[in-house]
């Protein structure tokens, strides 16, 4: 670890926060239909979209209608992209002449991209035509928008005297045109300027200095890259994702990509503050979460900077753990990316997580297990608030009264729903892991032997369940066993908890707002923040401790003892 490295990472987080606070306010204004400076451009676009689709975007929706619109729209978009992938060979823009895609890969890919997960069982440059990439890029816009507005609808459940949760379609289109499209467009142009290609020309054959030929895959990368990061999608254009020099050519693009993925989920915490008319509450949630993020960032950075002791002792290799990392990002830039991509559940990687040191690899795994260190679009905030509800319940038990949250009484119904939402996550990680480890098909997919093999499997399901999409990529993820099982886990992880959270919002909406009294448990204090942190860590850590002990922790001890597998 160097001082410069830490300073760079710290500066990044300060700038991020400075932008996220005002952007959170802008997002609130967009979602509540207030005037913004982009109206002149996008009002006509929006009207055209609704005229063509024939959707009435004015009527308010209760939670059931909102859920149905959310599921139905997602299903239709998934089917559209499914058909495009099935007919890849008959569709245009396939300069590399890539063949048909296997059915299990198509299933997994569509599930993964509609769910904002972007787990990839294929390598982009050897599987997808440019048109298929565009189709996935389409889902990279719509899936984060869907997730974000579900969180917004949830926030509306706390607003006093609101008749409904809003209109799904109106929220959907507004968030796309006023938030995702303009930021992605500007970012894409900047990325091209900094070296990210954007061309429909096919692969280029180079005649290298050493007299060899090198086939260089290209494509419309910059447009894809911008929304891949901004939408916390993370599915790479190329197999190596943001480690590929065409996706991420240098330190500047690396900073921009990190910034894009962290921007909206951080801002959304402040948007939520505006909904409940309590910015201090937003700062408490932000502060606790940032504390976790920074602590885990320092852990991964120090683990990677100290290098691999096995290679040092056996082969005399000097230096940090460079395996799977790119020179231009350095160890600090790689660690920050690893930390952010799993905190914000983006899943893009600028280094290969499978080759991280055991403790370094524990950090992304643990953040996906918590699934609430800011998290992805909407899903992350929902998980944070789920932990808040559980924390409020726990503190309510301590003082023996029905707790309130942001002025609404939290009763058995809400606590049960939040608890179920909490339990889904470990269940859909640990059960499939157990099944994979007890079947031949599951074990056959493991690349690295020993404790690391267990980490590979549990990482796959944690990444699927958290809709992250990063991988310990040694795992043979494209085998039918993993393609199908991770696909199912991705869908469960995405939709079950979101439906439950909308159910809670619907129930809260109907409740009268209770005025603040001396007996109210205040949740916008650092005392409550500490309880919140404790609940997150105890519930998150205890649930997963056994499997983490058998995976990364055991491997770290083995590595320090000089054992190889």
């Amino acid at each position: 670890m160097t001082f410069t490295g830490l300073l760079g990472d710290a500066l990044f987080l300060v700038v991020l926060t400075a932008v996220a606070v005002p952007l959170g306010r802008y997002m609130y204004r967009v979602m509540e239909g207030e005037r913004t400076f982009l109206d002149r451009i996008f009002d006509p676009v929006e009207r055209a979209i609704f005229r063509i689709s024939g959707i009435d975007a004015q009527k308010g929706m209760d939670w059931r209608k909102y859920v149905i619109a959310f599921l139905l729209s997602n299903l239709v978009m998934a089917v559209l992209v499914y058909l495009i992938l099935v007919f890849q060979t008959s569709l245009p823009l396939n300069p590399a002449k890539l063949g048909p895609i296997t059915p299990t890969t198509i299933f997994n890919t569509v599930a993964s991209f509609i769910a904002n997960c972007n787990w990839q069982v294929y390598a982009g440059e050897t599987t997808l035509s440019n048109f298929s990439q565009w189709a996935l890029q389409y889902l990279q816009f719509t899936s984060p928008a869907s997730g974000m507005i579900v969180a917004v609808a949830f926030a509306r459940g706390f607003v006093a005297n609101r008749p409904d949760l809003g209109n799904f379609y109106r929220d959907f289109v507004r968030s796309l045109t006023r938030i995702f499209l303009p930021i992605a467009f500007v970012a894409a142009v900047v990325l091209v300027a900094l070296g990210v290609p954007d061309t429909l020309g096919g692969p280029v054959v180079a005649h290298t200095l050493s007299g060899l030929t090198q086939v260089i895959s290209r494509g419309p990368v910059a447009a894809f890259e911008a929304i891949k990061q901004l939408g916390t999608n993370g599915g790479g254009f190329f197999n190596a994702n943001s480690a590929h020099p065409f996706e991420n050519p240098g330190p500047w693009t690396n900073l921009i990509e990190e910034f894009l993925m962290a921007l909206l989920p951080t801002s959304l915490v402040f948007t939520f503050g505006h909904y409940i008319k309590n910015i201090k509450q937003a700062w408490v949630l932000y502060g606790v979460t940032m504390f976790l993020l920074v602590g885990l960032l320092v852990l991964v950075y120090s683990a990677e900077a100290s290098g691999n002791p096995l290679l040092r002792h056996v082969l005399g290799v000097a230096g940090p753990n460079w395996e799977g990392k790119e020179t231009r990002f350095g160890i600090a830039g790689s660690s920050l990316f690893t930390s952010l991509t799993t905190a914000y559940t983006t899943g893009a990687v600028n280094n290969m997580h499978d080759s991280l040191t055991p403790l370094g690899g524990l950090v992304p795994l643990f953040q996906m297990m918590l699934n609430s260190v800011f998290g992805g679009k909407g899903a992350g905030l929902l998980n944070m608030l789920m932990f808040v509800i559980i924390s409020v319940f726990v503190t309510g038990l301590m003082v023996g009264r029905t707790p309130e949250l942001f002025g609404k009484k939290i009763e058995a119904k809400e606590v049960i729903a939040a608890s179920v939402a909490f339990l889904i996550h470990p269940l859909i990680i640990l059960w499939p892991t157990a099944i994979a480890l007890s079947t031949a098909a599951g074990k056959a997919g493991i690349l690295n032997p020993g404790f690391h093999g267990l980490s590979e499997v549990v990482y796959a399901y944690a990444s699927s369940a958290a809709n992250n999409g990063s991988a310990f990529a040694g795992l043979a993820a494209s085998s039918p066993f993993y393609a199908i099982s991770t696909g199912i886990v991705i869908l469960l992880g995405r939709y079950l908890s979101m439906i439950l959270m909308l159910y809670i919002a619907g129930s809260l909406l109907k409740k009268k707002t209770v005025p603040v009294s001396p007996g109210t448990l205040r949740t916008d204090t650092w005392t409550f923040g500490t309880v919140f942190l404790g609940v997150e860590l105890i519930m998150g850590a205890l649930t997963f401790f056994p499997v983490v002990a058998l995976g990364p922790i055991a491997e770290q001890l083995a590595m320090l003892a000089g054992k190889v597998f």
């Binding site: 590399a96 189709a135 091209v192 050493s210 330190p251 290799v317 000097a318 395996e323 231009r328 590595m559």
Partner: protein, 197 residues
């Protein structure tokens, strides 16, 4: 319900046109018009032939030239190891306690020995990159190769050092990324020096 589905189909199609096609074409158009070199892959053309992309590393076989990092990529058709296969990016994915990692790094050390002499093998130069296409090495690792190249080519070490320093790039705004050099750019300059002799 049927009407709802039909409306959603129309919504999906119109948003598809907007976010898959119009957005893509807008970025494509600006990229091709304003930044054509970058947008087409930062290709270096010499005597009408593409010698490579300035962003993509390439396999160096000659002992006269600077060597890049190990690459764990494979040929996409055969699946056989083929370093710097720029149509099939990826890392080794070997875990830190995997015997295969130790063996791989051992082989990488043996391969780079002629370039670094008896020096302690630096991690960056013997551990494979994440993309398998890393175009750069650290400044120290370039300097480490100077004596061997000077011996082979007869170019003075001071000239070679200057060459390396001329192409070296420091951390962005003093904070982000290590001191490093682009191996292809360096080798193009070195090659023309060799050709002049």
């Amino acid at each position: 319900m049927v009407m709802d589905i039909w409306r959603n189909v129309r919504l999906a199609v119109v948003t598809f046109v907007l976010f898959a096609v119009i957005y893509s074409l807008a970025v494509l158009g600006i990229g091709q018009l304003v930044f054509p070199w970058q947008a087409n892959g930062s290709l270096e053309v010499r005597q009408g032939k593409v010698v490579g992309s300035m962003l993509i590393g390439q396999k160096v076989t000659s002992l006269d030239l600077f060597h890049g990092r190990p690459s764990a990529t494979a040929n996409p058709a055969t699946g056989k190891p083929e370093p710097y296969a720029a149509n099939n990016s990826g890392g080794s994915n070997l875990g830190p306690t995997n015997k295969a990692l130790v063996q791989e790094v051992k082989a990488n050390i043996a391969a780079i020995r002629p370039m670094i002499g008896s020096a302690r093998p630096p991690a960056n130069l013997v551990e494979s990159s994440g993309s398998g296409l890393d175009p750069e090495i650290t400044l120290q690792d370039a300097m480490l190769q100077v004596p061997a190249i000077a011996r082979r080519t007869g170019i003075a070490t001071s000239t070679l050092r200057q060459l390396v320093l001329r192409d070296a790039e420091g951390p962005t705004i003093g904070l982000y990324g290590p001191w490093r050099v682009n191996v292809l750019r360096l080798n193009l300059a070195l090659q023309s020096l060799i050709n002049q002799r």
